[in-house]
């Protein structure tokens, strides 16, 4: 697999090397912690809202759940930033793995659906009357499926990589 020399140079930068090799508690695993916390903040409430749109927990009023979109955005920002640092730590590993790009695609679509749900269901003034947009069920199911796919893709990265760093294969 041809690896862009730029990625090799990236791995030799101080930041990349420090993230990968530092024994400090603030190194790679610290970034990974934020990535997991951010994930739980994005997907956790999202799944609850999706299940609510699918008809579960009908006694929970929909409108107040709109506040949770702020939390989900905070989670997404945490993951975007921590994600960048994770790629900076192992650029060859991430960017030569097709599963990584699959993960990014799943996330992009899931976030787009999250925004559509917010617009169609929560920003709709008829929400007060208890009427949910007709394609909300489809959006909710897609949302759950896409986040599950994104998480799975993320989990599989460690098992599908070709290179740990430039010139060093993954086991």
């Amino acid at each position: 697999m041809a690896v862009a020399p730029f990625l090799n140079e990236l791995e030799h930068t101080n930041l990349s090397t420090w993230l990968r090799e530092s024994p400090s508690v603030f190194g790679f695993y610290f970034v990974l912690v934020f990535h997991t916390l951010g994930l739980s903040l994005v997907v956790g409430p999202n799944v609850v809202i999706d299940l609510r749109l699918l008809g579960l927990f009908r006694e929970i009023p929909l409108a107040p759940l709109k506040r949770w979109f702020n939390v989900m955005w905070v989670g997404f920002c945490i993951n975007a930033i921590s994600g960048i640092f994770l790629v900076l730590a192992y650029p060859v590993k991430a960017l030569t793995n097709p599963v990584f790009f699959l993960k990014l695609t799943f996330i992009a679509v899931a976030v787009w659906i999250m925004q559509r749900i917010k617009k169609q269901v929560f920003d709709d003034s008829s929400l007060a009357a208890g009427v949910i947009a007709s394609n909300a069920r489809m959006l909710a199911m897609s949302s759950i499926a896409l986040w599950a796919a994104a998480i799975t893709a993320g989990r599989l990265l460690a098992y599908t990589c070709s290179y740990l760093v430039y010139g060093v294969p993954c086991e």
Partner: protein, 318 residues
């Protein structure tokens, strides 16, 4: 006083053995009682027993490492005991899960449904029998005077898992391991999403939500916890030494037990009843807020500790 895994294992093993038995006795007695108190108490005991069985099971590995080279200790007898435990634990955990469902559904109307009662009866009976077997084989390790000479112990062992094979099975395929870790994240998401929304509301976030309907989320959170319990125990069986001597993992287990304790505190004390009446815009009582904050912090600590398992392997000297 010197505390090690052997000590902890011998201390903790009382809980699964006595807990299943006392739970069953109370449960059977409750059929002849007029009130639901005895039934509910037995269900609580089943849940607590299921939780404490986990650290009991896990400390067994550390105990094995300490004991196996000592004179008079047979590896074969240790493994027979381990195999018995690897069968018994599932029945104890399933009994606990069924008891939790029974407790949940018995708040309104005030009794668990019939299928639940029947299922608990079956699983708890088998659980008691298997825990007796586990305790007995555990005693055999040290106490030659109680070992049977009829060969019946070996015959029973033939239907129990072989620890070596169970371990190999868990690590035989990296895709199976990836699947288990994937499920672990799904469980995490369910748990944080549901528990997080309820706890944050109690603390005052998204105040237009009435609190009572949010309790409907918790069974899904418990389901997430259940997924993680199963995937977690299977992972532990797959790499027992790796997890046993990892301080992050040990602390993660402690945090989970305390977090489960806060959930119990919320539902078994007045905090739950006080919060039920809280409507949109209203503030929850301070006691409930304290429990909610503790719960949130603990579950996030569980996530953080979980991520630090990898770099902190071999952090406990042995």
């Amino acid at each position: 006083m010197h505390v090690d895994f052997t000590h902890l294992h011998l201390l903790l093993n009382h809980f699964p053995i006595l807990g299943t038995l006392i739970g069953l006795v109370l449960f059977l007695t409750s059929f002849f009682a007029n009130t639901q108190d005895l039934r509910r108490s037995s269900l609580v005991i089943f849940v607590v027993t299921a939780l404490l069985t986990i650290p009991t099971f896990m400390t067994g590995i550390g105990a094995q490492v300490k004991m196996v080279d000592q004179p008079g200790i047979s590896l074969a007898l240790i493994q027979r005991h381990e195999g018995a435990a690897e069968l018994a634990i599932w029945f104890v955990e399933i009994t606990g899960a069924l008891a939790l469902i029974g407790l949940w559904q018995s708040s309104r109307p005030p009794r668990p449904p019939r299928w639940n009662v029947l299922a608990i009866l079956i699983f708890s009976l088998v659980g008691v029998a298997l825990m007796a077997r586990t305790g007995n084989t555990g005693g055999d390790i040290r106490h030659g005077e109680i070992r049977s000479t009829s060969g019946i112990s070996e015959r029973i062992a033939s239907i129990e898992p072989s620890p070596g094979k169970f371990t190999s099975l868990m690590t035989s395929s990296k895709w199976w391991w990836a699947f288990m870790m994937d499920m672990h994240f799904f469980g995490l998401v369910l748990l944080i999403g549901t528990m997080g929304i309820l706890n944050m509301r109690v603390l005052g976030f998204a105040k237009q939500l009435p609190i009572a309907p949010l309790n409907k989320l918790i069974p899904w959170g418990i389901a997430g916890f259940g997924i993680n319990l199963v995937s977690g125990v299977l992972a532990f069986i797959g790499m027992p030494l790796f997890y046993t001597y990892d301080i992050a993992f040990v602390l993660k287990m402690v945090a989970i037990l305390i977090a489960a304790g806060t959930l119990a505190l919320y539902y078994l004390t007045a905090a739950f009843r006080d919060c039920e009446a809280i409507g949109p815009g209203q503030d929850a009582p301070m006691k409930a807020k304290f429990i909610a904050a503790t719960s949130l912090i603990l579950w996030f600590a569980v996530i953080i500790l979980g991520r630090y398992i990898q770099p902190l392997q071999d952090s406990i000297p042995h």
